[in-house]
């Protein structure tokens, strides 16, 4: 206590020095290239999107030529396609995120034991992640086609019928979730494996001495220790999943009907096919704000979980 008081006193007693101007300039000059690059690649596109979302865009000059206030936002909020795309995205996220998290951490837990060839299996897990999403979507589209696809051929051998994966609205959504899960679960597995390997061994040794069984160790030690990692992985995957559109574009093209028309695909179509750039910018801003708000909520939740465990 006495030492703490003395240290506080010493801190207070330290004379405040004014930073010389030359030092201040030097510091900022080092930071300036990074700031300029950051502004150019991050702030400018966002600000430009914001600007055209409040304007009508002149396709002749590709510039915002007239301030229209909230008109584009009003049009977007009245657009049935926009709300359908938001709903489709919500359904996709509600299925894909939990499946990927549970599968990812589950697989990591199962392959965490020491066994020969574990390194090779981990390396193989990387393959779906490095396949370009458009290629992955196209290959899955071929494999799932009821006429030529391998999947239905195998199902047929087992007498499981000939499901129309891409033509039935419910199955098409399932297809999207399956492809996205195939692609991104390995990412979760890799993070979870690293986290599992970093868990303190002495805690498990103590549990063994106390006679804890497999389930007790999982539920009372592993899961609580992994909660911060699970939460952080969830946020990272959430930010990736909410932007997904390439797989939908290649595999289902948003169909049948508009059953898999996720919001980013819808925005892309409105911008680059319908050339409605101003309305698309308004949609992008709405999605950005909603994503930021939800991400903020998830981060608060993550912090609370970290505090609780």
């Amino acid at each position: 206590m006495a030492v703490e008081t003395a240290m506080k006193g010493a801190r207070k007693a330290r004379p405040r020095k004014t930073v010389p101007m030359i030092d201040w300039l030097t510091r900022w000059s080092f930071m300036m290239p990074a700031i300029v690059i950051l502004l150019a690649v991050l702030a400018y596109p966002i600000l430009y999107t914001l600007e055209i979302s409040f304007s009508s865009l002149d396709l002749g000059s590709f510039t915002a030529n007239e301030w229209v206030g909230w008109e584009n936002y009003g049009d977007v909020l009245k657009d049935r396609g926009f709300w359908n795309a938001m709903k489709v995205t919500g359904i996709y996220l509600a299925w894909a995120m939990p499946i990927q998290m549970i599968l990812g951490f589950g697989i990591a837990y199962l392959i965490n034991a020491e066994w020969k060839g574990r390194g090779v299996v981990r390396a193989l897990f990387l393959i779906p992640m490095v396949v370009a999403p458009v290629v992955a979507g196209g290959i899955w589209r071929m494999m799932l086609d009821p006429l030529w696809g391998l999947v239905n051929y195998l199902l047929g051998l087992l007498g499981l019928g000939n499901p129309d994966w891409l033509g039935n609205p419910t199955l098409a959504m399932a297809t999207l979730v399956i492809i996205d899960t195939w692609r991104w679960t390995p990412f979760v597995v890799l993070i979870a494996t690293a986290a599992l390997m970093a868990l303190p061994k002495d805690v498990f040794e103590a549990a063994d001495i106390d006679g804890a069984n497999w389930w007790t160790k999982l539920w009372s030690i592993t899961v609580p220790l992994l909660v911060p990692i699970i939460a952080a992985t969830f946020v990272v995957r959430w930010l990736g999943a909410v932007k997904m559109f390439d797989i939908a574009l290649a595999a289902t093209r948003g169909g049948p009907g508009d059953a898999t028309n996720v919001i980013n695909l819808y925005i892309y179509e409105q911008a680059f096919r319908s050339l409605r750039f101003a309305e698309s910018a308004a949609m992008a801003v709405i999605v950005l704000v909603m994503t930021m708000m939800l991400t903020g909520l998830f981060l608060i939740g993550t912090r609370k979980l970290e505090d609780n465990y």
């Binding site: 396709l59 590709f62 396609g81 609205p169 289902t252 093209r253 009907g257 508009d258 179509e269 050339l275």
Partner: protein
């Protein structure tokens, strides 16, 4: 012989003027010491073919014009064309525009009038505009100004596998085939030919998936029954009984299509037909060579593949127009060289070379009346001539408006919802009409 001083001076002046003219002409088309380089933006589907085959042929006539062709995927081509052309320093002298894009590019003010005085001064006397069929030439016309020339013509046509019709004991279709005949025959074309108790041959495959080109099938049926996409004052006109019945017909085709056809588009229907699994296909005529002739891409032979206009409705047969036109950026510094390429490729000689060497479909009457070098092209020429006539008669093309792509996307959305069974054809077309009117307003 006496030569007066003023005659000498006049002669010198004339010689000077001529040499200046020739020099200016040579500069525009390049010289051996100072060649011109022009850039073209085209669909990646044929950009490489042109760069490898067409440019060397062009350079035999114009050795001092270097041509660089950049290919871009179809879905990004219009946006990229607009972005480049409206920029302060455009890269591309020539823009290759799909059928519905010219109004949009023209309204953006970036296209050169190809019948204007400037281009007329560079155009050869024997370049016959009147030799083009009206329908393909009209694809690059907007508000009475000609902004382009047809370079790759295409039509939505009906492909027929004659072997399957024979196996079904049905007569091979003719251009007189009506929709009633077609739908009556369709159930008989769904067959189990290998006898395993399951159908392995179907009547039709075409665009059913959510795609901007899927509504062209419905629209062609509607047009051949006298329906229209838009009124003369630019309002939606398709949500009437004719439009609804046409959409019902399009949806009914699914009953005779392979399993999973609701998600089929260009690639899948092409694959099914080329593998001999479907008796007919409504598809762009340009795929004929790969479908009937080239053994590396098809199991079929020219003898067993027929090509003709789509079935006849209450008014006319059907053939939806799809023309790639060559246009010139009016900000280009190489306009003369750019026109030299377009003029050469769309001239009578250039078009015949293009058709006979690369199998590209022509738009000139003289070419279509000629005997093609390849025997397989003869029935294609007949189908094209019929197709241009009915397309022109029925207004069978995508909407002619600067907002064409937005309208087409609306139609794609709503037609796809009806085909997927999410809403009724009536609801789909009413919703589409409201949205189209919003877009056009």
């Amino acid at each position: 012989m006496k030569i007066r001083i003023h005659e000498l001076l006049a002669g010198a002046a004339l010689a000077g003027a001529l040499s200046f003219g020739l020099s200016a002409h040579a500069e525009g088309l390049g010289t051996p010491d100072d060649p011109v380089e022009i850039h073209m933006l085209a669909n990646e589907a044929f950009a490489n073919q042109w760069q490898q085959n067409m440019v060397p042929e062009f350079n035999k006539a114009y050795p001092n014009i270097k041509v660089v062709i950049d290919g871009v995927p179809y879905s990004e081509l219009l946006a990229k064309s607009l972005l480049d052309a409206t920029g302060p320093d455009p890269r591309y002298d020539i823009l290759i525009a799909d059928d519905p894009w010219v109004p949009q590019l023209a309204e953006a003010g970036v296209l050169l009038d190809l019948k204007g005085d400037e281009v007329a001064g560079w155009t050869a006397d024997d370049y016959e505009w009147d030799d083009f069929y009206a329908a393909p030439l009209a694809a690059s016309e907007w508000k009475d100004v000609q902004y382009g020339v047809p370079l790759r013509s295409n039509l939505l046509l009906m492909f027929v596998n004659k072997s399957i019709y024979e196996a079904a004991d049905l007569p091979a279709p003719t251009p007189e085939l009506t929709w009633e005949d077609y739908l009556e025959q369709a159930p008989k074309l769904v067959m189990d030919r290998d006898g395993n108790g399951q159908a392995d041959t179907w009547a039709i495959d075409t665009y059913f998936t959510r795609d901007a080109l899927t509504p062209t099938i419905w629209q062609t049926i509607m047009n051949s029954n006298g329906g229209k996409l838009l009124t003369d004052d630019g309002k939606a006109a398709f949500n009437d009984e004719t439009g609804v019945e046409a959409l019902k017909t399009h949806i009914k085709l699914l009953d005779f299509a392979p399993p999973g056809a609701v998600s089929h588009g260009f690639n899948e229907s092409l694959q099914a037909f080329r593998q001999g699994q479907t008796a007919t296909m409504f598809m762009w005529g340009s795929v004929f060579k790969g479908t009937a002739v080239s053994p590396e891409t098809t199991t079929l032979t020219p003898d067993e593949v027929g090509i003709q206009i789509m079935p006849v409705g209450s008014k006319t047969g059907g053939a939806h127009r799809g023309i790639w036109s060559g246009t010139i950026n009016n900000k280009s510094e190489n306009r003369q060289a750019a026109w030299a390429l377009l003029e050469w490729l769309s001239s009578k000689e250039g078009e015949q070379w293009h058709a006979n060497t690369l199998g590209v479909f022509p738009a000139r009457k003289s070419t279509l009346d000629s005997t093609p070098d390849s025997e397989w092209m003869a029935p294609v020429f007949v189908a094209l001539k019929n197709g241009y006539s009915v397309a022109g008669e029925g207004g069978m093309w995508r909407p002619r408006t600067p907002k064409s792509d937005a309208v087409q996307q609306v139609l794609a959305d709503e037609v796809a919802r009806a085909i997927a069974g999410q809403i009724t054809p009536e609801e789909a077309l009413d919703t589409a009409a409201d949205r189209v009117n919003d877009v056009l307003n």
